[in-house]
Symmetry: C2
């Protein structure tokens, strides 16, 4: 007889994972290395450490160590908002009338409103430990910038955020949260950097782009003593830190002897999905267990499902290293859909390799379907989800409905990466019936892919 499952499974604080799990250690085919865009040779630790913190460079390049200890200072910070609950969606199941058992790992339970804090605090810690004065970064939708501001406030590090100008103006509240946490927030492009001035001279009145903001942040990090650049997704180090999501979820399941049949996560750069699936994928890679793993991406930015597995630039400015990944081409500009965190043209190299090797599936979801699922979920489960997270909700509901048809009692886990408090302009459009869907044409995709380096 099994124990009664509560609505929310909380681990004890002492059970917060003491190590991160590095999926690459169990991969037979390792993800392809980052290449120097000039020499086309793998980036060395020395090359990377001009831009990134030393310890993070080590983590970025480490393909063999399965478990990397989480420093105590980071674990102490984790205790302020972790363990995050693994929630049994009893109300959603009842409403759907499904025999499926639906669980979600809720990572929106902190002021940054998303899972981004898991890696932000780690990156800030290593910067502090290296004796740096501060870090620079870019932010679009603002989740990463907010998380990094919080982490830097905790370690009393300077934090310089370049925020895409259009977001700076349209999302003043995100900007104010960052300022409240002591970050300086500069609309990008700005007059404060060489690259910013150049772009402004060439394109007066531009509202900026993520690629431009990256360029400015990297310039400030490399031209100022005691600064480094940090990034909130795509990189291996970020997936490593985010493994805390999956490790906690698995520990919570283990407490009740539960094994999920399928794991569903939204996929932009891959930070959430890579973190959520990490320990489950580890078992799959080692042949110890099997799980269906499903990446959900927006129909407007379908890197896995319609992209190409090839070397490409990570930024639109084409100054960053080349990464082998599923990509739509660094010149591809996705439609202005409301899941800002899923608008990256590429994908984590690790997840790309795993997808290429058949360890996971990928599907797309249309924006209006995603918001319909978001609203349905909000009304029955109480939480207002972020548009990004709602991609996973949409597919979880679809799978639960299939179980209703077949009568199968499958156990579904999905990642609820964050809350939608700063996305109400999007909800308003949906409530007013004014939301569009956008699916790129084959011709558009071919055009962008034809420019791969």
């Amino acid at each position: 007889m099994s124990k009664e499952i509560p609505y929310k499974i909380y681990l004890d604080e002492k059970d917060i994972p003491s190590s991160w799990y590095n999926m690459r250690a169990d991969m037979k085919n390792k993800p392809a290395p980052l290449l120097n865009p000039g020499t086309r040779q793998p980036m060395t630790a020395q090359e990377l450490s001009g831009v990134f913190c030393e310890e993070l460079v080590k983590q970025e390049l480490d393909e063999t160590t399965p478990y990397i200890e989480i420093p105590q200072e980071i674990r102490d910070f984790y205790k302020m908002y972790r363990p995050a609950p693994l929630v049994r969606a009893y109300c959603l199941e009842k409403k759907l009338g499904t025999p499926a058992k639906i669980y979600y790992k809720f990572e929106g339970n902190n002021t940054s409103g998303s899972h981004k804090l898991n890696s932000a605090i780690a990156q800030a810690y290593y910067a502090k430990k290296q004796g740096l004065k501060g870090v620079t970064t870019e932010t679009g939708a603002g989740q990463w910038g907010t998380a990094l501001s919080m982490a830097c406030a905790y370690f009393e590090l300077d934090c310089k955020v370049f925020m895409v100008k259009v977001s700076y103006e349209q999302k003043p509240f995100r900007r104010e949260v960052m300022r409240t946490y002591g970050a300086s927030v500069t609309p990008s492009p700005s007059e404060t950097t060489e690259v910013g001035r150049k772009i402004l001279a060439e394109h007066p009145g531009t509202t900026g782009s993520l690629g431009c903001a990256i360029s400015e942040a990297v310039e400030v990090a490399t031209h100022n003593e005691g600064y480094r650049y940090v990034l909130g997704s795509v990189l291996n180090q970020v997936l490593l830190h985010q493994s805390v999501i999956g490790l906690e979820a698995k520990a919570a399941f283990d407490k009740y002897g539960i094994r999920p049949d399928m794991i569903i996560g939204c996929a932009g750069g891959g930070s959430n999905l890579g973190g959520l699936i990490a320990p489950f994928m580890g078992e799959k890679l080692r042949g110890e267990a099997d799980y269906r793993i499903i990446a959900v991406e927006p129909a407007s930015c379908p890197s896995f499902t319609r992209g190409k597995y090839a070397y490409d630039f990570c930024d639109t400015g084409m100054i960053c290293p080349l990464a082998k990944m599923y990509t739509l081409g660094s010149s591809f500009i996705p439609a202005p859909n409301h899941a800002g965190g899923l608008r990256f043209h590429g994908m984590s190299t690790t997840l790309s390799q795993l997808y290429h090797d058949g360890y996971m599936e990928a599907v797309t979801a249309k924006q209006t379907d995603v918001f319909e699922a978001a609203e349905y979920f909000a009304r029955v489960e109480g939480i207002l989800p972020a548009p990004e997270s709602s991609h996973a909700i949409k597919v979880a509901i679809d799978e639960a409905k299939k179980c209703k048809e077949t009568g199968e009692e499958k156990t579904i886990l999905f990642g609820l990466t964050g809350t939608g408090y700063f996305d109400l302009v999007a909800y308003e459009k949906f409530n007013d019936g004014k939301m569009d869907d956008y699916i790129p044409t084959d011709a558009e995709l071919e055009e962008a892919l034809s420019r791969l380096p």
Copy 2:
């Protein structure tokens, strides 16, 4: 040797209180009854039940039953976001260098962003049980309206919210959350009610007031078959439901054998404070224990500290029953400070009686001091607090600093009622150094108090 206290003390779901606690049962001097404004006689159950749900009228008038069972349906809903954590503010203590032990009960851990949901779900439940079609209410800042929308979505009740027009226009995001949860939100005054049309005719272009919104909500509730009016603070029934906050906090403390020396809460209409202190006040009333209990109110709206204990109207429109309470006069219009939830001219009748009888203290805090404390707290404890809650933070920090001077290891509990995601206009003003303080003059207060009924 005592057990190690975690950062967050979570109760098990089975330990969510099964009954609410009714402070009035242990009060020797009962709060004075509501009076019919026409006859000046105590309101009868029959009179009240034209406006309120029957079961809620019973609770409103019940002065003798100490524990009232929480129906299972409500407890099931509570499980979606409760137990709320009792947090040990280790980081704040360290930063302050205080020997004090600081705890806060965090009630912002749900989409409504505040404790209001505790009573909203109870009121929606009783409305549903009575077979009603829906409920009406007013909202100013929007916390209560949001909570009620969520509760009504859960029980599939119609929810009509009259939102003060200026808030409707200035807080579009709050409005959209309510709409996402299926509520109809009408800017008040509106053309949809008789009283609204009358006010619009008399004051064309008015941006509305809480008093006017109450009048419209009551009119719709009483003129439509199957509707009742519900209210988020001040009333005894609301304090009863909110006792779940204090009961959980006490149970969490008891788990570790801890007894707080002082309990601090912000005070607007009294719903949070009355709920937080309930079981502690019970012990104090029964002579079983002593606690220092401190209400914190804004310097701009000081009902306890500068008001009069007298019968007054609860609304500016003077259509509601008379309540004996600490009041600044129903014609007093507080300055437009940013703690919208603390701008009520009066106070819960129960808390008023307890204050009058010397069972609690009250202090005021200035707006800029409150935001300074809010930002300080956000940076060390990670949570972005609501302006209302930050009044309690300010005084908790002051008390912890006193302990640093005296070396006393006092245990401080304060109520962190909610989050500040929808208050970033206020944070922006503070970050820009543009925030004002406002303290009413004696002459202003005398003028408003001279008009008491």
